[in-house]
């Protein structure tokens, strides 16, 4: 198992009158090279949950396993540095983390922080720049001269430069145009497929969940209310709406068609699946008219 949560609870300001439990008794498992999407209404504890993954918050109760690492409430901060390299975190709007004078220095900052030599870190930075789809002509420029989408790529390259095995993404496409969003999601999919990274994605885009995720976790008020494949989770649209979530657009359309008498073997979740199932029926329908 790449990631396993065992009865994890997290309370902010524990032991004070203002204590607030943001994550309560959460247990789930993600296999090696898995792709987990976490969805839920705003304030449901998604961000708190993922910050447990590299122990920015240590659990108040319970145990977290991430590959060879184990985090319990008693784990000391000193022991966590290797975990922070193992789990790469891309926070919301990561472009605001840029600070160095050149893009190369900014990307090399992480690896140098974990003890890599300057020359190796710079070489790695150039490599990562290509990975995220910018060429090395950018390396000497100031990160503050870039467009918003390019800045975000640089920030993500800085995280990838630490060669994490688990990549945690908190709404990585928020505020991007449709093309930028697609390019970003394709990049993560490629890292998942080619380099075998385990990916944890927090998102409000049900289309992305349906297209990329292998497992989905639904959070509500700090609790894990559903965990399963996208098909399990999206099978009950009424339940999702009651939790202030929705099904992907393709599935919505498929349901409207179902109301008009089309019966799906499995509910299509993406436009491709929908088109495939419609195409499979098409000849049969056409034959009636001949």
């Amino acid at each position: 198992m790449a990631i396993a949560f065992e009865h994890v609870t997290y309370t902010y300001q524990a032991g004070t009158p203002m204590a607030h439990t943001a994550v309560e008794d959460v247990s789930f498992q993600v296999p090696d090279h898995g792709y987990l999407a976490i969805i839920g209404h705003t304030g449901s504890g998604k961000s708190t949950l993922i910050q447990q993954l590299n122990a920015l918050y240590k659990p108040s109760a319970g145990t977290i396993h991430v590959d060879d690492f184990t985090v319990t409430p008693a784990t000391t901060n000193a022991a966590l540095k290797p975990l922070r390299q193992h789990v790469g975190m891309v926070f919301q709007f990561p472009e605001s983390q840029l600070f160095e004078e050149t893009i190369r220095q900014d990307i090399a900052f992480g690896p140098k922080n974990f003890g890599m030599s300057e020359a190796d870190a710079n070489a790695l930075a150039d490599e990562m720049l290509t990975t995220v789809g910018l060429d090395t002509s950018y390396a000497e420029r100031s990160p503050f001269e870039l467009s918003g989408g390019q800045m975000r790529r640089v920030a993500i390259a800085g995280v990838l430069a630490m060669k994490p095995q688990v990549l945690v993404l908190d709404e990585p496409t928020a505020g991007l145009d449709p093309q930028g969003r697609q390019a970003m999601m394709a990049l993560f999919e490629r890292l998942h497929q080619e380099q075998g990274l385990t990916i944890v994605l927090v998102t409000h885009q049900m289309e992305d969940v349906a297209q990329y995720a292998e497992q989905v976790a639904v959070m509500r008020a700090g609790k894990l209310v559903k965990f399963g494949t996208p098909h399990d989770v999206f099978a009950d649209p009424d339940w999702l709406r009651a939790n202030q979530l929705d099904v992907p657009r393709a599935a919505q359309f498929a349901q409207q068609l179902r109301q008009r008498g089309l019966n799906w073997d499995t509910l299509p979740l993406t436009a491709d699946q929908l088109a495939d199932q419609i195409a499979a029926r098409w000849p049969a329908k056409g034959a009636d008219h001949v």
Partner: protein, 199 residues
């Protein structure tokens, strides 16, 4: 014209907000070093001066001084503060002049065709010195009393001059180095954008 005036107004307001944050959140404003602490607020003033100009340095520096002054009565930042910073000459004047020095020296250096980085480093270093030397100098000048010396951490028969020298070494020098290293890093992108806007 009005566009860059509005931009300046907003940036000044944001820098003031940063100074307020640095006062409210201890970690952002002060790095404790034994009995003394090194402040990071001077850095913000230097950035204001070098990135925008002497006028903005004056405004942000004055704002910091005013806060130091009021805090000395209501919410002292250190045991020394109620003894010395209740005097506006010590709390406000050095901060005011530090922002002015940062902005003025940057412009002066650029007019002598120094590189942007060099002009910023010199401006940052001099501004840090202006602040440290004026505060410590004015304290020495106005408050030659054992009470102030004790509050500064003097033991036995150590004199005020001696403890001020120590605080110059433990605070003044790290602040000086930090400001030279960090101020240009923050100020350069801001300055470039500001210059482009004015052009």
């Amino acid at each position: 014209m009005t566009r860059h005036k509005t931009f300046r107004l907003v940036v000044d307001a944001l820098l003031m907000a940063i100074v307020l944050l640095q006062n409210i959140i201890p970690f952002l404003g002060y790095v404790p070093l034994g009995p003394f602490s090194m402040t990071l607020i001077g850095l913000t003033v230097i950035v204001a001066g070098t990135a925008l100009g002497p006028k903005d340095g004056l405004v942000i520096g004055g704002f910091w001084g005013l806060i130091t002054f009021v805090r000395a009565f209501t919410w002292p930042s250190s045991p020394v503060a109620p003894l010395i910073f209740t005097n506006p000459l010590i709390s406000i004047l050095p901060r005011l002049l530090m922002g002015l020095a940062a902005g003025g020296l940057y412009t002066w250096g650029r007019n002598r065709h120094w590189s942007q980085r060099r002009a910023m480093q010199v401006a940052a270093g001099c501004a840090a010195l202006v602040n440290t030397l004026l505060v410590l100098g004015l304290v020495f000048f106005f408050y030659q009393t054992p009470a102030v010396a004790t509050a500064f951490g003097a033991k036995g028969n150590q004199t005020l001059g001696y403890v001020l020298m120590i605080s110059l070494l433990t605070n003044g020098i790290p602040e000086f180095i930090l400001d030279i290293l960090v101020a240009p890093l923050i100020a350069r992108p801001l300055r470039n954008r500001w210059d482009r806007l004015k052009a």
